[in-house]
């Protein structure tokens, strides 16, 4: 009798949890026991999502990656297909990140209400209440491999020759030396042609002379020179650019070749964007010697 009572007591009290779960044969379906975003243990929720690295097989990166929620407060691991679930997260607002040493992923802020409603939005640490919705379940696409390392600047002949300063010196020199030999200036037909091209260069004779305009500009305040940088950066309007380059070259003491290059075979040479860049670089070098690296690139 005593034994019997004791046994039933055991039955009552000892709810030894017994879970039979998980089919081994079909892995994809996963456990059947739990489903839905609200979990059996009340106020704990789960964050779901999927991380993708375009063009890379999942097995190459998932073993070194993991999902962190608010630092290392909660941790999830990536499944064989890149999907992830972070279980046992109480309601609140969290920054969810996929951390992989090889690939970049953006962070997402996930808000969970006390009822278990989920919302994903962009992380903004400055305007913390700003909401730009993101899809939920999370879709995190890698924006490519991380760049940790710098390339050494190597020295080569081509680098030296392609250096803007060297180009500035060498090219006009070549032109001066070579062109008179190639083009016969005594030929009347040729002279006519050149005059024509000069007319083409100045399509609107009413416009004030550009060089005059520029000298006015540069003799002015310093602020205008900073504008010059802005102007040279904007590569959308070639017309404006032409004037710039023309002017700068003419005012910088290279009058001889410049005049020629501006008036002579202008279109042929300066249509090429390379030369525009070259002159931009030159420009910035003359006026902002300290900013060479940035602007040139």
């Amino acid at each position: 009798m005593w034994l019997h009572v004791r046994l039933s007591e055991v039955c009552l009290f000892l709810q030894a949890m017994f879970i039979l779960a998980c089919c081994f044969s079909d892995m994809e379906s996963g456990p059947i026991a739990t489903s839905g975003s609200v979990q059996p243990n009340g106020d704990r929720f789960k964050i779901e999502g999927r991380a993708i690295v375009p063009g890379v097989k999942t097995q190459d990166w998932i073993s070194s990656a993991r999902v962190t929620v608010e630092g290392e407060e909660y941790i999830g691991f990536l499944g064989t297909d890149g999907s992830f679930v972070v279980n046992d997260v109480p309601s609140g607002s969290y920054v969810v990140e996929v951390i992989s040493p090889g690939y970049k992923f953006g962070a997402v802020r996930v808000d969970i209400t006390s009822k278990g409603k989920m919302r994903a939005r962009l992380v903004n640490f400055i305007k913390t209440s700003e909401v730009i919705r993101q899809p939920y379940p999370l879709q995190l696409r890698s924006s490519g491999p991380r760049t940790y390392l710098m390339k050494r600047e190597t020295w080569g002949w081509t680098d030296f020759l392609m250096n803007p300063m060297v180009m500035m010196m060498v090219l006009p020199l070549l032109i001066i030396v070579l062109l008179p030999k190639v083009v016969n200036t005594n030929d009347p037909e040729m002279r006519k042609e050149m005059e024509q091209s000069m007319n083409m260069l100045n399509p609107n004779p009413e416009l004030p002379d550009v060089s005059e305009f520029m000298t006015k500009l540069f003799s002015g305040s310093k602020s205008s020179s900073s504008k010059a940088i802005g102007g040279s950066k904007a590569s959308g309007r070639p017309a404006v650019k032409r004037r710039w380059c023309q002017n700068i070259t003419c005012t910088s003491g290279l009058r001889n070749y410049c005049n020629w290059s501006c008036h002579g075979n202008y279109n042929a040479i300066f249509k090429k964007s390379f030369f525009i860049r070259l002159y931009n670089c030159f420009l910035s070098r003359v006026f902002f010697p300290s900013s060479e690296i940035q602007v040139c690139k």
Partner: protein, 922 residues
């Protein structure tokens, strides 16, 4: 507005240039070692014959896969530290590894091939008890997890058993009363039957019972010295069958609790009928349960034998017994994992994985050959120091020349000449060695570092890293290669001990050996002991440390040295009495002279008390000040002074208008960080107090409202940088405090805490940091000329090198001419994190716990060691390498230009001569 931004961009680009690791520098002077911790569960991949995979679950909550041939990691999954990530059990079947995590919180299945997660399931609440695979008709389809729900006090230990039928048995014990057997159906988890067996002698089923043969529960009892057998699946009322050990001619060593070891090779089949009985610490007996299920036959006696284990391959089962070869081995191996496999000739081969007490993991192959050893104690480094390597004979000779007193002109010249000859000899020997090695095939040349060949390099970049681990094992690691040069296991170290490593004498005092002292303190009792050793060779010093009968409160290293050039260590006990080590007459005399100028502080964080003491001539102490921070409001989290080996090169900062802003450089300044006891996000705060350690004067007090910890901070020069969590905006913030004396110095020759009437001017600025951090440290260089960087450990494992320039409270909101001239970056609320600033590129350091910085012989270079789960060593150049030629210095270009110029001059000279000659002829 366009100009400031462009300037900003330029600054950025400059930093990028200075910070990043170049492509060719990868692995040149940095190395990483990955660890996993002490093994709890290990499985060999028996899926395929040639597999070389090994799966481990460790006490650091890590599930890892190793290459069993080399001991290198394939992959590793680092879960959350602490009880929420503990691995309760690891089961392996085929390609699936099943894990119960966090005390039965989660059930995970891993694809062992890819290292990815198959699925993860949340289990019902309850604490984890036991788990096993359940098989039906030779296929493993289920896993049974037994958990305890609620507050059940009746059963104390459990066993889950499945023998290949459609039932799962759970055995529970009511201590010293009875055993209950419950059978569950596999189909629906319903209870099929339930029985109870009287067992008044049984207290725990886990520790004293195993299942043997066809479902026979075998238990051992110490009191009656008998084995008990019980058929679990019996239909009628089962009964324990007692077999006295005496009847088997077995004797248990006195005071030893016998242990049973059995094996179930496949979940679909019954366990094998052979089992081990451990009768003493080194005595095992192999027994067999006869087919009748009641009688036992002894098979073989193993003595001495430390560890036994079973392993099965195909139809064969191997019993492995580990016997000690000699008695000298002091580390006891507590765990043994055996993997048996069938060789081509059908004989059984084996591989063995042994986990020893000192956390070393050794892999042994068949004829007892050690294939690899991993020092997993390094997964938990507590503290470390870097010690200069000793000079070589020739270097010492040269140094000695300058050290000795001059004894006349002629002997000096002779000495100089002789040392030059020695140098020449050494150089020639070096050249010869180079030449000799160049002739050898490339692969054979090995630059192995051994303890004998250790010597300081010319820039002092190579040092000895002395690492102290939580398990009480000390390591000496060469900082250049990362090879372990010596190790020393301290026995009897309590698991909760705290360590402090002190370098008492460096290598600079030849012929006295360098000396390190490790203070080991029991956290509960406060009792401490000292371990004095030579940091280069790891040998214990013959110097006897003083006996410390009372708990130690504080230790301080004085700049006072004894006649043997060892710095004096003072230990303060709980009666405020001071013990000096070394305590020679000379030292005591010096202490008496200096006593009035020796001050120290004590923190009682439980009482919120910070007090300062002064030493008296008789080595007693007197309290001179006390600061009380009421514990109801806030608690002291951390107190930090400045590093004693830190140098500040410039006394002030030159401002845009050419005036000088002098830094407040108080060497006695303490930064005290407090956190509020109220954790409510609206009322929580973090406080920072700057207290003078000599006078107790509070220099500055900053309170960050709506903030909570964990607070990480660095205190250096004239600044304190701290990081906290902003509870209102839910983000991490960095705040910097900088102290200035103003444009005039009060006393420029000497600093005295007792004579500083003016409080410093304090500037503060705060920034948003877009990531949580785990640890923080500042770079340190020889003379302090190089600009400082902060090294920030991120949870992703990256170590960010953040220029201190970004944390400058004088960053202006509006750019002016002056601020531009001072190179101040305009204020921006959010701090940038760029991957180019990660000094460890993709070599992440999991769970960074500390970053150690040490100066090198080069002013530009700072040595960095980050430790946590992994160890990463590198060098950083906060202001680029300004004092040595760069790695990419183009010798070819320079020499070719020089030669070209030389020849051009020659040719032009010749041409000019010819021309002159021609002109002369004309």
């Amino acid at each position: 507005m366009s100009k400031p931004t462009s300037l900003f961009v330029i600054f950025f680009s400059l930093f990028v240039m200075s910070e990043a690791v170049f492509e060719d520098q990868v692995g040149k002077f940095d190395w990483r070692q990955q660890y996993v911790g002490k093994t709890l569960f290990a499985h060999f991949d028996s899926h395929s014959q040639s597999s070389k995979k090994l799966f481990l679950a460790t006490d650091k909550n890590i599930f890892a896969s190793f290459n069993s041939r080399t001991g290198e990691l394939f992959w590793r999954h680092v879960d959350k530290a602490g009880p929420e990530g503990t691995i309760d059990i690891l089961l392996l079947h085929g390609q699936d590894a099943l894990m119960v995590v966090g005390g039965g919180r989660l059930l995970r299945s891993w694809d062992t091939n890819m290292g990815g997660l198959n699925w993860e399931a949340v289990l019902d609440t309850g604490s984890f008890q036991a788990a096993c695979f359940v098989a039906m008709q030779d296929t493993v389809k289920h896993v049974a997890v037994l958990k305890k729900a609620g507050t059940v006090r009746h059963w104390f230990s459990y066993l889950v058993y499945s023998g290949g039928e459609e039932e799962v048995y759970v055995l529970g014990v009511v201590p010293n009363s009875h055993l209950t057997i419950i059978a569950y159906s596999l189909e629906d988890g319903e209870i099929i039957k339930q029985r109870s067996v009287e067992a008044p002698w049984l207290s725990s089923v886990e520790s004293s019972c195993v299942v043997v043969g066809h479902g026979v529960l075998m238990c051992v009892d110490t009191a009656t010295l008998a084995l008990y057998a019980l058929p679990i699946q019996a239909e009628e009322a089962p009964q324990f069958n007692q077999i006295l050990l005496q009847s088997l001619d077995l004797e248990v060593s006195p005071g030893f609790q016998p242990v049973l070891v059995s094996s179930q090779p496949h979940p679909a089949r019954s366990p094998i009928s052979e089992f081990f009985l451990q009768l003493g610490p080194d005595h095992h007996v192999l027994l067999q349960l006869n087919a009748d299920g009641y009688t036992i036959a002894p098979l073989r006696d193993f003595q001495p034998a430390f560890l036994v284990s079973f392993s099965t391959t195909g139809e064969k089962t191997v019993a492995a017994v580990m016997t000690p070869k000699n008695e000298t081995s002091d580390v006891f191996p507590p765990q043994l994992y055996v993997h048996a496999f069938l060789k081509k000739d059908d004989s059984v081969g084996y591989r063995v994985l042994v986990q020893t007490q000192d956390h070393a993991l050794t892999f042994i192959q068949q004829p007892g050959r050690v294939v690899w050893t991993r020092e997993e104690a390094l997964a938990d480094v507590v503290t470390m120091e870097m010690v200069d390597l000793p000079l070589t004979g020739t270097q010492a000779e040269l140094e000695g020349e300058f050290g000795k007193k001059a004894d006349g002109l002629f002997p000096m010249v002779l000495k100089r000449l002789s040392s030059q000859v020695i140098l020449l000899q050494a150089w020639l020997a070096h050249l010869w060695k180079l030449f000799y090695e160049a002739r050898k095939p490339h692969g054979q040349v090995k630059n192995e570092v051994t303890i004998e060949t250790l010597s300081r390099d010319e820039f002092n970049l190579q040092k000895m890293m002395v690492m102290v681990t939580a398990s009480g094992k000390l390591f000496g690691i060469d900082s250049k290669s990362g090879s372990i040069l010596w190790k020393h296991y301290l026995e009897n170290v309590q698991p909760n001990a705290v360590f402090k490593l002190i370098v008492q004498r460096t290598t600079a005092h030849f012929p006295h050996p360098p000396q390190c002292t490790l203070l080991i303190k029991d956290k509960d009792t406060g009792l401490a002991s000292l371990h004095v050793f030579n940091p280069i060779f790891g040998r214990k010093s013959h110097i006897a440390p003083p006996a410390l009968p009372r708990p130690i409160l504080q230790s301080l290293l004085l700049p006072v040295i004894d006649q043997d050039y060892a710095k004096v260590l003072l230990l303060v006990d709980d009666q405020y009495k001071v013990t000096a080590f070394p305590s020679t007459k000379n030292v005591l005399q010096q202490l008496q002279e200096m006593a009035s100028s020796i001050f120290f502080y004590l923190i009682r964080s439980d009482q919120g008390n910070l007090s300062g003491f002064r030493l008296r001539k008789d080595l007693s102490t007197e309290r001179i000040w006390e600061v009380v921070l009421p514990t109801e409001v806030q608690k002291i989290v951390a107190v930090n002074g400045k590093r004693p080996n830190e140098h500040v090169h410039s006394q002030g900062r030159v401002m845009g208008d050419r005036s000088v802003l002098y830094k407040y450089l108080n060497p006695n300044l303490l930064a005290v960080v407090t956190e509020s006891t109220d954790a409510h996000p609206e009322r929580a705060f973090v406080g920072v107090f700057l207290v003078d350690g000599v006078t107790g004067r509070i220099i500055h007090e900053a309170v960050q409202r709506k903030a909570r910890g964990p607070v990480h901070f660095v205190h250096s020069e004239n600044w304190v940088v701290y990081e906290y969590w902003n509870t209102k905006s839910r983000r991490n913030e960095f705040s910097v405090l900088e102290l200035f004396e103003g444009t005039e110095l009060y006393n420029s020759t000497v600093f005295s805490s007792l004579d500083r009437p003016h409080l410093p001017q304090v500037l503060q600025q705060t920034y948003i940091f877009p990531s949580p951090i785990t640890t923080m440290e500042a770079t340190l260089t020889e003379k302090g000329i190089t600009s400082r960087h902060l090294l920030v450990g991120l949870p992703s494992g990256a170590i960010l090198s953040l220029p201190k320039m970004f944390l400058d409270p004088r960053r202006p909101e509006v750019v002016t001419e002056h601020s531009r001239e001072e190179n101040l970056i305009p204020y921006a609320p959010e701090m940038p994190i760029r991957t180019e600033w990660f000094i460890n590129y993709n070599q992440t350091v999991a769970r960074v716990k500390g970053i150690y910085t040490a100066p090198s012989g080069l002013e530009s270079t700072c040595l960095v060691v980050a430790y946590g789960l992994d160890i990463y060593q590198t060098r950083v150049y906060p202001s680029k390498q300004f004092d040595v030629l760069k790695d990419d210095y183009d010798y070819v270009l320079i020499s070719s230009v020089l030669f070209a110029l030389f020849f051009a001059t020659m040719i032009s000279k010749r041409l000019a001569q010819v021309k002159l000659l021609n002109r002369a002829w004309r």
